[in-house]
Amino acid sequence: MKPRHKRFVFIAVALAAVAVAVGLVLYALRGNVNLYFTPTQVFNNEAPKGRSFRIGGLVEKGSLKREKDGLTVHFVITDTHKSIPVVYTGILPDLFKEGKGVVAQGEVQANGVMRAEEVLAKHDENYMPPEATDALNKAKAANAADAAAAASNGSAAVPVIK
């Protein structure tokens, strides 16, 4: 073995050892590295109790309700398996929309509702012009209409709680 082969083996072994060490650390920390808990994890009691944490998921379609003060909103975060209702007073980010990703930070109260201190929008990785999305939505709507002609609720207006 030439000295440079020895050095190469040394570097390769050192790098592999560091990679394994970092891998084990990240594996041990895997719960802490996640930015948020999913509603399913909250139902499985994996989320911390009695302190603030983040829930992430989609804003359930048709769940967004605004109170009369115009600032307090109620909505439901879902991962399509379990859902958690959230109440938040404040300004929502521009991208906050029903059916889109959201991350809310707050404490889940005894009644199972999260009182959020902060609501962040999470956008997806797809970039396309409005016309393309319109076409996609139309196609989706047509499919839905074909499947169940009766179930047609196209109103986009946000209902107001009296």
């Binding site: 990240l26 590295v33 930015l35 991208l95 990785e125 970039y127 012009p129």
Partner: protein, 245 residues
Amino acid sequence: MAINWFKYSSPTTFYGLAGKMIPWFAVSAAILFAIGLYIGFVVAPVDAQQGEFYRIIFIHVPASMMSMFLYMVMAAYAALGLVFNTRLSGMMASALAPTGALFTLISLWTGALWGKPMWGAWWMWDARMTSELILLFLYLGFIALHASIDDSRRADRAAALLAIVGSVNVPIIYFSVKWWNTLHQGATIKFTGTSMQIAMQQAMFTMLLACWLYSIAVVLARVRSIILSRERNTAWINELPEVKQ
């Protein structure tokens, strides 16, 4: 007959070669930046969800890609230097570090500017952003460690070790959005296809190519300066027309 690659690992040969290559890379980078920005700001349509704000990807994504790619190149040169004991490898690693750090900073900065209007937060300690911040510290650590040792050959070896160990971070940045729940969205450019409109893609890849060419031009210019300063006592430097006068 095999090409003697080691010929180009000699600073003497490389100094002249780099000097000839710089203008080509610099000019084509400038042209591609102009084309990329034109497509990005004039031709590419607005995004359905994010409106005009999404246009920051034309800077943000190439900068982030370069920050990771340049680190891997730097670590590869560092390893090459350790294994073969070539002087030029350490110089190349030192020349790459500031450009890599610059792209990392641009990536973090534009990400913050994007995050505030879109997500509602400048910064979140999510896995993607935190690991990218660690990358910036690795670059700065490399530069600082190299600068703190007077003997440049010893500095090369010490900094090379840091660069190689730190390269573990790059796959973590790349896969962070897959392995953990993050606020940052998943990858748009995947091996299975890209979920992006075609003019947007053209703008982004043109900008990426421009960033590549810019990096090559700047790194070559910087490595020439490093060669000049480190070999200043050698005969061939003192024979150079730009030194002799």
